[in-house]
């Protein structure tokens, strides 16, 4: 039998706000334990939560970036479960009235682009961190758990895809695209290694052609895109092998073991969980009116997919548009500025992604401090287009500008790189070369095209490479037809 895998991805994005979701404690990373805590995020008796406006702006931005609809009203719920790293033993989260609903993300695998639906994005708070240690002098038991609540209450956006992903590679591509968008929005550090973006996968299989979903298994603990892909593939293979040997998939949560390269069942003593959700009485409803959504929309940066479309629309090939879109922001801005100053889009894109990026790498310089303006780049491009500087000489001009020697025209002059495009001078040089090489000239007249290159080369040599080769070409042809 042939099987189809059905995968849904849940992503947790920690927002990079100044303060936590419901209190004024600083959001940091790597601070000493329990130093960024207050009555609210520690769940002290009497403390109350107040939502962070910027965190809510951020989830709306995320929703808009994925073409979600933003709910006109939304509420927080309490999700009740006891866990040592959860200070109140309930998590303030959202249940049946999330802020963002029904969006999508386009995912490309092997050149094929597919649209994956996003079911919802909701706001919640992160838990603290626990670490397990060996014998620490406790009277009973050989080990203990240490708790640090610095992360407790950090704003977290959970983005839930629809079960519309059908391979491990697609799961990975979805995660990568999603991360790119979130990073672009600037709402999160989106660093997998620091856990500021975390991926869980719900994996099931079904015979091809069957509509109903199979029993799903939740796979956790993947901390790189590669491990996500491996874990999903492992889980698909495991389920197929299980079912084909007359076993049955059990609904459960499994833990990915990166070193062993397999998933393990996380056996929890608690049977089926019963979170007893109810509307958080310490918080009032949120009303996301148009003014609010418009205010957030106005701050949205251009996202990769839209940007690539725009680049293609202005004349770039898709591959070049993708490269440029992936470039650092100052590089893209330089491109925009050059085009704004009248430069040809393709030339500008080639320059910024080619020579200019190479120079930055060579000089180990940040793109932020690139000593080149869009106007200068546009001038350089027009020198080439107008034939005043040859393509190869243009690279020298660029280096001169980057070395601070002045604007491209000045540099070309100072470095003596201006092409000879004066017709009279070129005609004189051509005539001398033709007189010196009568045999070659005769062959050309007889239609032997290959000697044209030789003659042009002779003229270029005579002019120390400064003649505009196109003009030289034209003049020699004129002489042939004379």
């Amino acid at each position: 039998m042939s099987w189809e895998s059905v995968i849904g991805i849940e992503v947790h994005v920690e927002l990079a706000t100044n303060s936590k979701m419901f209190c004024g404690c600083a959001v940091g990373f790597g601070e000493p334990p329990n130093t960024s805590v207050c009555p609210t995020c520690l769940g002290l008796p009497g403390a109350l939560p107040v939502p962070n406006q910027v965190a809510l702006d951020s989830i709306i931005a995320i929703g808009l970036a994925f073409d979600c609809s933003v709910a006109p009203t939304s509420v927080f719920h309490r999700k009740n479960y006891f866990y040592a790293d959860l200070p109140k033993n309930y998590q303030i989260s959202q249940f049946d009235a999330p802020i963002c609903l029904e969006g999508h993300l386009d995912v490309t695998v092997d050149g094929q682009t597919r649209r994956v639906g996003i079911e919802r994005a909701h706001m919640e708070e992160d838990t603290g961190k626990s670490s397990h240690v060996g014998d620490g002098g406790r009277i009973h038991g050989a080990s203990a758990t240490l708790l640090d609540f610095n992360r407790a209450g950090v704003p977290l956006v959970e983005i839930v895809s629809k079960p519309e992903i059908h391979s491990a590679a697609e799961a990975r591509a979805y995660a990568q695209s999603l991360r790119a968008v979130v990073a672009e929005l600037g709402v999160s550090d989106a660093r997998l290694e620091e856990g500021s973006i975390r991926f869980d996968a719900n994996v099931s299989i079904r015979p091809i052609g069957v509509e109903t979903l199979g029993t799903k298994v939740e796979v956790k603990n993947m901390n790189s895109f590669r491990s996500l892909e491996r874990a999903v593939q492992y889980e698909i293979d495991r389920q197929i092998a299980l079912v084909e040997s007359d076993g049955a998939v059990v609904q459960e949560t499994r833990h990915w073991d990166e070193e062993a390269g397999l998933t393990r069942s996380m056996r929890s003593k608690e049977g089926s969980s019963d979170y007893r959700y109810f509307a958080e009485p310490d918080l009032t409803p949120m009303e996301m009116d148009e003014a609010w959504i418009d205010r957030v929309a106005a701050t949205l940066p251009e996202l990769p997919a839209k940007r690539i479309d725009r680049y293609v629309g202005s004349g770039l090939e898709v591959s070049l548009a993708e490269i440029l879109s992936g470039a650092e922001a100052p590089i893209r801005e330089l491109y925009e500025a050059a085009v704004g100053a009248g430069a040809d889009a393709r030339s500008a894109a080639n320059w910024v992604t080619g020579e200019i990026t190479a120079w930055l790498r060579r000089e180990e310089t940040d793109a932020d401090s690139l000593p080149l303006t869009g106007t200068q780049l546009a001038e350089l491009i027009s020198l080439v287009d107008e034939g005043k500087v040859s393509a190869s000489a243009a690279k020298d001009v660029l280096n001169g500008v980057l070395d601070g020697e002045g604007d491209p025209g000045d540099v070309a002059t100072k470095r003596d790189l201006i092409q000879i495009s004066d017709a009279g001078t070129i005609e004189a040089a051509v005539d001398i070369v033709l007189a010196d090489n009568p045999d070659a000239f005769a062959s050309l007249r007889d239609g032997e095209e290959k000697v044209l290159g030789f003659l042009v080369g002779q003229v270029m040599r005579a002019t120390q490479g400064k003649a505009d080769p196109k003009l030289v070409n034209d003049v020699i042809r004129e002489r042939v037809s004379d």
């Binding site: 004024g24 758990t145 929890s268 019963d274 009032t284 949120m286």
Partner: protein
């Protein structure tokens, strides 16, 4: 009405480590209270208003500003067990 109360399950959800006689006692009391509480089902018709804040407060947010956190020693001073800046608990059972 709800004569069926899985009191052990409820106590487990609430992390209340009660003895068998205590569980029996609370189950009997809950049965009596719930029988009275079930009168909420006598409500006729659908109410007009939603349960929201009586003064209609919505969108009560705070600016994203950092406020001073608590002094760690003062916080940990209230903990039954603390070590090296951490709260300490017996190990979790999972995994």
């Amino acid at each position: 009405m709800p004569v069926e109360i899985d009191i052990a399950h409820v106590a487990r959800l609430a992390r209340l480590g009660l003895t068998e006689p205590e569980l029996d006692h609370y189950r009997d009391q809950l049965a009596v209270i719930l029988e009275h509480a079930a009168r909420v089902q006598e409500l006729e018709g659908e109410p007009d208003v939603d349960v929201t804040h009586p003064l209609g407060v919505v969108n009560a947010f705070r600016p994203d500003e950092v406020r001073t956190s608590l002094d760690r020693e003062e916080v940990l001073g209230q903990a039954p067990e603390a070590r090296d800046g951490y709260f300490v608990v017996p190990p979790a059972l999972e995994l």
